[in-house]
Each structure stands twice: as structure tokens, then as C-alpha cells.
């Protein structure tokens, strides 16, 4: 799964940079480079991560076979300026996306949230089943009820924060995904192209 996480096409990265916020998009893959630039900023000003917290975070329990699940909770911004959560990551997920949901009748459909999750100054944004959520996909291991999941989120200024979400059994949060993601990621014979069938959903970290 690690390979899946870090294998991204330039096309994917550039698409996501357009879709999210350009300020956070680097030319290279994320990770150390991104952190290093964030560290420089930290010396001069408070970051988005500094003012961020989560109230009541949880994630729906699923098996690796089910493959995908949602992270919920209330994103809180303690600062005087708006902050934007642009991506998220989870160690055992091949891909993580920020989603919004729309409901027609009783059918919910989720899709990627353009521009990430903005959190108003001194305010909050609720991630909930049937609404905005962080989508963990291509899970490499079960998320068992009562376990804890460490989720990392990245903001438009490049700063990151980690929070721990409790894993809960939950009957809902079964929205259809427009891209049908998660179904197509079963083992490909050579393991090399695992991410390509749904590559348009990959690469959140590539900005």
C-alpha cells in the first residue's frame, strides 16, 4: 500500500492543485519537503495547524475488504482568520480525499470537495455522515470498533496537524461515490498499476 500512496502521476497532482489551493502545491511529492518549508514559516507566524482542533472525532468501522470509510467530527478554528484544510492522510489508507455529500430523496452521493474545507475564523465546520467528511480509501487493514485512528490533516499554508479518531460501529454513512472508488482497487496482477483505474482520485498529497 505504501507504493500506492506515493505513486502519483504528474497529471493527478496538477489536477488536484487546481482543484484545491495553489498555495500549498509544491513541485514535488509531499512529505519531508513540505514539512521543511512549513517549518520555515512557523518561525514567523502562527500557522493554521496552531489554531486547529477537533471536537468529537470518530471514524466508521470497516474491514479492509470494504476498503473505504469516513472520518467525522467538528473542525474548530481558534484563530481570527479563516483556515483551509486541503488534504488529509492516514497511514493505512491508499488514498484520502475530502468529500462533500448531496442527498436526493434518501440517496446520498458524495464527491470530492472543491477547494478543501474552509473553517471560518473563530468558528467550526461539522464533518458528519451525509455531509462533509474525510474519506479514507484503499484501506490496508481493518478499522475495528474501539480502536483509534491517527489522521493527519494539512492546511493551505502547508502546516499539518494530527488527531486521533475513535473507531465506531455505524449503520449509516453509506453514500454512493460518484467515482465508484474503492471497488476497482482489488489486486491487480502485477501490483504496479493499482492506482491507475481510479487515478483521478489519487494524489492528495501531491500538491
Amino acid at each position: 500500500m505504501d507504493r500506492v500512496r506515493t505513486t502519483r502521476t504528474a497529471w493527478t497532482a496538477s489536477l488536484l492543485c487546481l482543484g484545491l489551493t495553489l498555495t500549498a502545491c509544491g513541485e514535488t511529492a509531499p512529505g519531508e519537503e513540505s514539512s521543511a518549508s512549513a517549518d520555515r514559516e512557523a518561525d514567523t507566524a502562527a500557522t493554521a495547524a496552531d489554531s486547529f482542533s477537533v471536537t468529537a472525532p470518530w471514524v466508521k468501522a470497516v474491514t479492509a475488504e470494504e476498503g473505504m470509510t469516513g472520518v467525522f467530527g467538528e473542525l474548530v478554528n481558534g484563530s481570527g482568520g479563516e483556515i483551509t484544510l486541503v488534504s488529509a492522510s492516514y497511514d493505512a489508507a491508499g488514498a484520502v480525499e475530502l468529500h462533500e455529500s448531496t442527498t436526493e430523496g434518501v440517496d446520498s452521493t458524495m464527491r470530492e470537495k472543491e477547494g478543501g474545507f474552509t473553517i471560518p475564523a473563530g468558528g467550526s465546520r461539522l464533518l458528519a455522515p451525509g455531509a462533509d467528511h474525510i474519506m479514507l480509501m484503499d484501506l490496508a487493514e481493518d478499522l475495528e470498533p474501539g480502536a483509534e485512528a491517527a489522521v493527519t490533516v494539512e492546511f493551505s499554508d502547508g502546516s499539518t496537524a494530527e488527531f486521533t479518531a475513535a473507531v465506531k460501529d455505524y449503520a449509516g454513512a453509506d453514500e454512493e461515490y460518484e467515482g465508484g472508488h474503492g471497488e476497482e482497487h482489488e489486486e491487480s496482477p502485477d501490483g504496479e498499476q493499482e492506482d491507475s483505474p481510479s487515478g483521478e482520485h489519487e494524489g492528495h498529497g501531491g500538491h
Binding site: 512557523a42 502562527a46 500557522t47 477537533v54 481558534g78 474501539g146 502546516s159 494530527e162 488527531f163 479518531a165
Partner: protein, 402 residues
């Protein structure tokens, strides 16, 4: 469980100031779920806003003045649930119970508004022998097993021993219903319900606090009971008698006692009083005038007969050994949907050691207590009630080695 524990990878350490600020914001949000305090001075707070802390050295729901409604739910662990599963289950349930005790929804609560009225909600967890054995067979208290047989018992296994008990009490029945359902949803991956027993007392506010309850036979029931907060109580209820992980815990013996009300109806008042040894009107012993007067077991009437008969319930329940006492916190039950034929008492007895305290008492009642003609124990289960936990911890943590 997770709340506000935000780590900032940027600097690889917790930013104290930022965390404090964020915590304050989170607290403000959390308050949104908490019941609003009464706004105007002089206006008493709504009953529903009252809370009992979940966290503490001892579990709530034992010393807590009994709430009006109580539901006892017993579960058996699924065969696949191993020690780690039990640990995760107790983390989930402890977190649920803590949040709901504050009038906040549990995580993933699908009906969060129902959690807004805590009404002194308490959840008390009890471990059956099966659960403790599943985690650490060497850690089972010697008393954590079925009580010895009693001649008058007619036990139905349907109300018998189980692996895990949830005792959920509040002054509002909707609160109890929601709390039970929320927690049972979190048990589904680990356990299945064995039985549920639901009981009630007088509604909150109907009587002065501290009034001894009456059972459905009309008796003042529970006059002689150790008082929480006294050294006597601490010794009798929290006094140890188990392995180290139970330090600060107690035991619960839950007996379902059916009362045969139609037969009881055949007894006139003087006979009823003779059976118990107390007056029906105020619960005073037949040798006294007030409820809490000490019974004089030596007193005789003009013909030389004992005023409190040999067969009287309070004589049989009485012990000269101060260490053989128990603490009662019972609830009435009836099946109001089936015409009231099935009624009785959920006799919840807490004591440091059931074998040393409950069993001698029950043996005396079993041998000779005229009340046995009208009451029959149909259910019996023993649970270890672990100590309480602090914020971020979970009940039973010491059993899992920390």
C-alpha cells in the same frame, strides 16, 4: 477518547498555548450539547439538567441516590471476542457513558438530541466471571461465581449469570432508553444481549429526597441500609476482598424477586405486618413508632410471645455480625403491558464480598422467613463492579494491566 488531543507534526511537540486555545473553543462547542442551566435566579434547575460525574475513583450509580428509572442489561461476549476486543469494548462504552453523563451525545450518536437531558444519568459496569476469565483467568475474584443454591429459589437461567452488565439509571425514562440503545449499538461487534431488566421507583420530585422506597407489596423497603459516605459504607461496599484490579470496586448481586401480589392480597394488614415485623404505614418496627427506630427483638407481648415473631422478615434479615451487612439499591418491576400479573423487585445488592456478606444473610432468609410464601427469587447473577476511571481511561483498565 481522542477529544482535543491534537498533535502538531510541524514542530513535533505539543504547542501548549495553541492546544489550550483550541481546547477552549472545543469546550464552547461541547457546551452547545450540554443542557442549559436555569436562567433566572430563584427558579430551580430543571431536573433534566442535573448530572452525575462518570469519572472518579469509584463508579457512579452505587452511592448515587437512586434515580427513578433503572435498566440492567446483561451481555455475553461472542466467542470471537478476545482480551483486546474486551478492552476496545470497554473503551467504547466508557467513552459513551462519560459523554452522555454530561448531557452530550456519544460519538456517532444518531439521535444526539436525546442525549441533551442527562437527568442524573449513570452507567455502572459489572464484569461477570466469563469476561474476567476471557481477559485473565488468574484475576477472577473467588466470589465471582453463582451463589450457592437456596431452597426457595426458582431460578430461570433467562435471568442468570452473564459476562457483562450495564446498569443504566436516570430520572428520565427516555434518557435511560437512549443511553441503553446507544451503548448496545457499540456492543454489537463484541457481544449479544442475554437479558434486560427494567425497574422504576417513584418519579423524581414526587417525594422528598432520601425517602425510603416502597416495593409493590406496599412495604417500606430498605430502611436498614449503610449510608454512603460513612466509614461503615466504605468498609462494607468498597472494602476490597478481590484481586488488585478490583481495588476501589465492589460486587453486585442482582436478584429478580417475583412478588405474588394476588396471594399477598389475601393477607390483611395485621398479618402483613407480622410477616415483615414492621408497620405498613411508616415502616416502623412493631416495637417502635418511627421508621428508623431500632427493632427490639427481645420484646414480648402480654402473653409472652415475641412482638417481632421468629418468622418475621426483619428478624431473619438481622445479623449480629456487623460485617455481614449489604447495601441495597433496588428497583420495582412489573410488566405493565401484560396486566400486572408479573411484578416484583430487582434486588440490587452491593457488597465487598458476596460470599461473606450476602450469602449468610440469604441463608437465614431461606431457612425461615414467612415472606418466602409471597416472594420467589427467579433470577440471580453476580458481577464484579470494577473501580471507576479517570478522564481518558476506561472501566476495568487495571484488569488489562494498565
Amino acid at each position: 477518547m481522542g477529544d482535543g488531543r491534537t498533535r502538531f507534526s510541524r514542530r513535533g511537540l505539543l504547542l501548549g498555548g495553541a492546544a489550550a486555545g483550541a481546547g477552549a473553543a472545543g469546550g464552547a462547542l461541547a457546551h452547545r450539547w450540554a443542557a442549559e442551566p436555569a436562567p433566572a435566579p430563584g427558579v430551580p434547575a430543571l431536573n433534566g439538567t442535573l448530572t452525575v460525574p462518570f469519572h472518579g475513583a469509584r463508579q457512579a450509580g452505587v452511592e448515587t441516590p437512586p434515580q427513578a428509572h433503572g435498566t440492567f442489561v446483561a451481555l455475553d461476549l461472542e466467542p470471537r471476542t478476545g482480551p483486546d476486543g474486551v478492552r476496545r469494548l470497554m473503551r467504547l462504552l466508557s467513552d459513551d457513558a462519560a459523554r452522555m453523563s454530561r448531557g452530550e451525545p456519544a460519538l456517532a450518536d444518531t439521535e444526539p438530541e436525546l442525549a441533551e437531558v442527562p437527568a442524573r444519568l449513570t452507567t455502572t459496569f459489572g464484569f461477570g466471571r466469563g469476561l474476567v476469565e476471557r481477559v485473565d483467568a488468574a484475576a477472577v475474584p473467588d466470589w465471582l461465581r453463582p451463589l450457592p443454591d437456596f431452597d426457595h429459589d426458582r431460578l430461570d437461567p433467562a435471568w442468570g449469570e452473564a459476562d457483562l452488565l450495564l446498569q443504566v439509571c436516570a430520572d428520565d425514562p427516555v434518557t435511560v432508553s437512549h443511553a441503553v440503545r446507544m451503548m448496545l449499538k457499540d456492543t454489537r461487534s463484541f457481544a449479544r444481549v442475554r437479558w434486560t431488566q427494567t425497574g422504576f421507583r417513584r418519579a423524581h420530585g414526587s417525594q422528598a429526597g432520601g425517602t425510603t422506597m416502597r416495593n409493590l407489596m406496599g412495604q417500606v423497603d430498605g430502611t436498614v441500609n449503610p449510608a454512603p459516605g460513612t466509614g461503615d459504607f466504605d468498609r462494607l461496599v468498597w472494602g476490597g476482598g478481590g484481586p488488585g484490579w478490583m481495588e476501589g470496586g465492589t460486587s453486585l448481586v442482582l436478584r429478580r424477586i417475583a412478588t405474588h401480589l394476588d396471594a399477598w392480597d389475601e393477607l390483611d394488614r395485621p398479618a402483613r405486618e407480622a410477616v415483615i415485623g414492621r408497620r405498613m404505614d411508616n415502616g416502623a418496627p412493631l416495637t417502635g413508632t418511627e421508621e428508623h427506630d431500632e427493632a427490639d427483638l427481645e420484646a414480648t407481648d402480654g402473653s409472652g410471645l415475641a412482638v417481632i415473631a421468629d418468622f418475621a422478615h426483619i428478624r431473619r434479615a438481622r445479623t449480629d455480625d456487623p460485617d455481614q451487612r449489604i447495601f441495597r439499591r433496588g428497583y420495582n418491576y412489573d410488566h405493565r403491558d401484560s396486566g400486572g400479573q408479573d411484578a416484583g423487585l430487582l434486588f440490587a445488592s452491593y457488597q465487598a464480598d458476596p460470599l461473606r456478606q450476602f450469602v449468610p444473610l440469604q441463608r437465614r432468609l431461606d431457612e425461615l422467613d414467612l415472606l418466602n410464601e409471597w416472594v420467589t427469587a427467579v433470577g440471580s447473577a453476580v458481577f464484579a463492579v470494577p473501580p471507576g476511571c479517570e478522564e481518558g481511561g476506561y472501566v476495568g483498565q487495571a484488569l488489562f494491566g494498565g
